[in-house]
């Protein structure tokens, strides 16, 4: 048996794929709505992930001998003939690469070096991980795990993930702890903190341009307004002042189940102080001037609460999954413009799966969502809404967009699922034939190529459409 495990696991490849065709006769790009808030089903595009596990020293049954392996994961959201990316490798990335070792120095501890991650699970109906830390970090991590307790501690650098080509070191550390009781109850908590230190002379380090008015920043007119007060003195535009940046997140989790019809209920919460931004560039008379905006972007917070319960109402006949999501984003610096950093959103999603036969299922899902902008209009409700913004009136200087601060969306989806491996809402592979319908208060509330400017409006016109219908043929599998 030991030899069997060694031979079997020397190289192991796993992965995940989903591909679909959703011809859209109403001008959309094949997705029923804008995003996962309405449930992931029919609101996501194709995706492929391939993960390689190369065993170097395999774990031996009956032994606490050291083991080690290497993981590499490539993934991306494009497949040939299925989306705009057409399967281009440019849209795929090596998202994870790490080495692990166990039973080295400490029993029940797994050491990990490379890309890190620790999370408390997935909101399946939304395809979200609300309680996740260290995903943006490359560094070292230790996980102590026993049947009742899991404790993870990691630290490293998140600079490349957060700032990309404008890299500056962002030191970060995070931890999670989870306690499990008799496979019926779990509770966990964790957090992550980031520190981007002051580095004088590094133009990608945190700086702050003094005395910048937030409205001028939004309009991209900081330099222009300064020149109004200081004509012909561009060379004297204030230099940025070095500072440092901090941010953090806290996550929590509670799970219970395994009794009555409740398979499992997962409740996640996440509160994040977002990291301050770097700089924006304004061009005046051919000169590029960088405006450093630390102090204008350091009061952004996000609260996210999500819950999903999976119920087995009639065993082997009818399963139901019910989920809810609430998000609240606040930007203490911004009281002027509607943005994704200043809004509230909430939704509920319910999926029924009825097993007509072990491999043939009927799927019925519905969702209701409400999104509200904190700073005025953010949605166009009518075909001629691109003429209006502030308080529903045309205002060339206005920050608002469209004629409504609220968007309400309902979706209904249903169809047949072929599951070769039998019943289960999350059993895969699945071959699905689905019809989806959406009603939104917003006009044409789906990815589309309709008019976005007055010039285009004059050429093509627009249509009033609040209902959206899509037929989908999909395949999804883990392997």
């Amino acid at each position: 048996m030991i030899l069997l495990v060694c031979a079997a696991l020397a190289t192991d490849v796993g992965g995940y794929v989903r591909i679909m065709t959703r011809p859209d006769m109403e001008g959309g790009d094949g997705k029923l709505g804008y995003w996962n808030l309405y449930g992931r089903l029919m609101n996501e595009g194709p995706y492929a992930a391939l993960e390689l596990r190369q065993g170097i020293l395999e774990p031996k049954p009956g032994s606490r001998a050291p083991w080690t392996d290497i993981h590499a994961k490539i993934e991306g959201g494009t497949v040939a003939n299925a989306d705009a990316g057409n399967g281009s490798l440019a849209y795929l990335r090596l998202s994870q690469l790490y080495a692990q070792a166990g039973n080295v120095g400490l029993s029940d501890v797994t050491w990990r070096l490379g890309t890190l991650e620790s999370n408390f699970g997935d909101l399946g109906l939304y395809d979200m991980k609300p309680a996740q830390v260290l995903y943006d970090t490359v560094g070292a991590q230790a996980r102590y795990q026993t049947p009742g307790l899991e404790f993870t501690l990691g630290a490293g650098d998140a600079g490349w993930s957060m700032k990309g080509a404008e890299y500056n070191t962002v030191l970060t550390g995070g931890l999670t702890a989870r306690v499990s009781i008799a496979n019926h109850f779990e509770i966990g908590a964790g957090g992550q903190a980031y520190v981007e230190p002051m580095v004088i002379g590094n133009r990608f380090a945190p700086y702050n341009t003094p005395n910048v008015d937030y409205e001028d920043y939004l309009r991209g007119e900081v330099v222009e307004r300064w020149l109004d007060d200081h004509p012909s003195q561009l060379a004297d535009f204030p230099n940025p002042e070095p500072t440092d940046s901090q941010s953090w997140k806290a996550v929590g989790y509670m799970g219970f189940g395994g009794f009555g019809p409740v398979v499992w209920n997962s409740l996640y919460v996440n509160y994040t102080q977002l990291h301050p931004k770097g700089y924006v560039t304004e061009t005046v008379d051919g000169d590029d001037i960088d405006i450093y905006v630390h102090d204008l972007t350091d009061e952004r917070t996000q609260l996210l609460v999500g819950d999903e319960v999976q119920l087995q109402l009639v065993p082997q006949r009818w399963d139901l999954s019910l989920a809810g999501l609430y998000g609240d984003a606040q930007d203490g610096d911004n009281n002027l413009a509607p943005t994704d950093d200043d809004r509230t959103y909430m939704s509920v999603v319910m999926r029924n799966q009825v097993y007509l036969a072990p491999t043939l299922h009927l799927l019925v899902e519905t969702s209701l969502a409400r999104e509200e902008s904190h700073n005025g209009n953010a949605f166009r409700n009518h075909k001629d809404s691109l003429f209006v913004n502030t308080e529903g009136q045309a205002d060339a200087e206005g920050f608002e967009y469209g004629d409504a601060a609220e968007r309400v969306t309902w979706q209904g989806k249903g169809g047949f699922v072929l599951n070769p491996l039998g019943p289960g809402i999350y059993t895969r592979p699945s071959l699905r034939l689905l019809y989806g319908v959406q009603y939104s208060t917003q006009n044409n509330a789906f990815g589309n190529s309709f008019v976005e400017s007055l010039d285009q409006y004059n050429d093509f016109g627009n249509v009033e459409r609040h209902w959206h219908n899509v037929v989908a043929l999909e395949a999804e599998a883990w392997f």
Partner: protein, 174 residues
């Protein structure tokens, strides 16, 4: 398209090779943990799947869930020595030993992927030996689902492969 889906769902599985006369088969299922040093029995649903594969071939199964031979499995990891220990109890009755070893792979796009290494050994009364070695990737939805659930989730594939081993044995005149 709906009709095609319905047609696929209603396809009947072929009737397996069946034993010509009622005969017994001793069955032992083992789960070798890679996170601790234990070797234990497999989950009930897994046992049902393996026994079911034999039952559909008109074999009368005797499931070994304990006893002196089974109790040595934590210390004895070698398949041939396990078979020898079981044969001392089962004597001339054909023996089916299914050994499983679940290993955690990673969390993969929202599900916990495990790889269950499986070794199926069938020893006939005359000493004829048939075996199959294979891996079954399984996906568990929740963190608290561990080794036992992984082995449980591998049941449909193991059931099919055990059936193939039995078919090979029966086709050879077993």
């Amino acid at each position: 398209m709906v009709l095609v889906f319905a047609l696929f769902a209603c396809l009947k599985a072929p009737v397996p090779v069946q034993s010509g006369n009622a005969r017994q088969l001793v069955v032992a299922n083992v789960m070798d943990s890679t996170t601790d040093v234990s070797a234990t029995g497999t989950p009930a649903a897994f046992d049902v799947a393996v026994v079911g594969a034999a039952g559909r071939r008109k074999l009368v199964t005797l499931l070994v869930e304990g006893g002196p031979a089974f109790d040595t499995f934590t210390a004895v990891r070698d398949t041939s020595r396990r078979i020898t220990a079981l044969k001392e109890e089962s004597r001339d009755t054909p023996l089916l030993l299914v050994e499983t070893a679940p290993v955690f792979f990673s969390e993969l796009n929202g599900q916990y992927r495990w790889t269950v290494a499986v070794h199926v050994s069938l020893v006939a009364a005359d000493g004829t030996f048939n075996e199959a070695r294979f891996d079954v990737p399984v996906f568990l939805q929740y963190h608290h689902q561990r080794e036992a659930e992984a082995v449980d989730a591998a049941s449909p594939v193991v059931e099919r492969r055990v059936g193939e081993v039995i078919d090979t044995w029966l086709s050879g005149g077993g």
